[in-house]
């Protein structure tokens, strides 16, 4: 039987580690929000949120173990969203 397993099983230890990291990042983002960083604050908060999102998508949602088709689709969706947001701000901020 040469049929390959299509599903990768992630161990409980890895999942718990991701959970701990997510909790630590949540604590960090709250701590950072209490520090006065001015305009940098929004970027710090969004940066940490993106890091958390990458952990959830990569491990919890198995994206790290998926094939090229799914990863490229995700990239396309994210780039589309980024273009939407980028072009809108290009209009709003420089009007």
């Amino acid at each position: 039987m040469s049929e390959q397993r299509q599903t990768h099983i992630i161990g409980y230890g890895t999942l718990v580690l991701v959970w701990v990291l997510l909790l630590l990042l949540t604590g960090t983002t709250i701590a950072v929000s209490r520090v006065d960083l001015g305009a940098l604050h929004v970027w710090a908060a969004l940066g940490i949120a993106c890091l958390k999102a990458a952990l959830v998508i990569g491990i919890f949602m198995h994206m790290r173990y998926e094939g090229r088709l799914l990863r490229l689709s995700l990239l396309t969706a994210l780039v589309t969203l980024a273009i939407f947001i980028g072009l809108t701000f290009f209009d709003v901020l420089y009007r």
Binding site: Q6, T7, I9, I10, G11, Y12, L15, V16, V18, W19, L22, L23, T26, T29, I30, S33, D36, H41, V42, A45, L46, I48, A49, K52, A53, V56, I57, I59, F60, M61, E66, G67, L69, L70, S73, L74, A77, L78, T80, L81, F84, I85, T88, F89, V92, L93
Partner: protein
Amino acid sequence: MSLAPHRDEAGDRLGMWLFLFTELLLFGGLFLLYGVYLARTPEDFIRAGGELDLVLGTANTVLLITSSLTVAVAVSALQKGARSLTLGMLGITVLCALIFLVNKGFEWRAKIDHDIYPGSKRLLAGEGGESVFYSLYYLTTGLHALHVLLGAALLGWVGFRIRGGRRDGEGAVLENVGLYWHLVDLVWIFIFPLYYLIL
């Protein structure tokens, strides 16, 4: 002669992800609106955001992160054939979802008691940016709460299917409902800093 039922697990997941991309654009649009109005009236947004309950927001963040873990463990457990662990994890997930909704209810209740809701006298009399902030707050968290409710119902349904001994593709069903649940967590990961932590 018997044929094993044809399964296309990769195709199942691709279909679910395509649906999730539309959800991403839906919430992305709301975050886009938030960003534009934050850039226009930053002081109003910061003042309005400061009134949200950080303790409840943090508690709900921890609940969703934990429920994301328990769903992921449930998926792994089912793949390993550990059914009772799967069912236990699904039970905890649904419980987290319900506590989340109760907390959300308290939050909304407290705001409405303080005369803060779209079209309320206080918001109409105040700065325009605050009114926009709270309209977006109710719209975004309301839409998110609907997703929590639907996700919890689907998780419960999958749990009963597994408990009833359904085997045909139950792994794929749980995986896809799990993906939906992680998306709910993902959206909250951005709602939390934008609405609760803004300076």
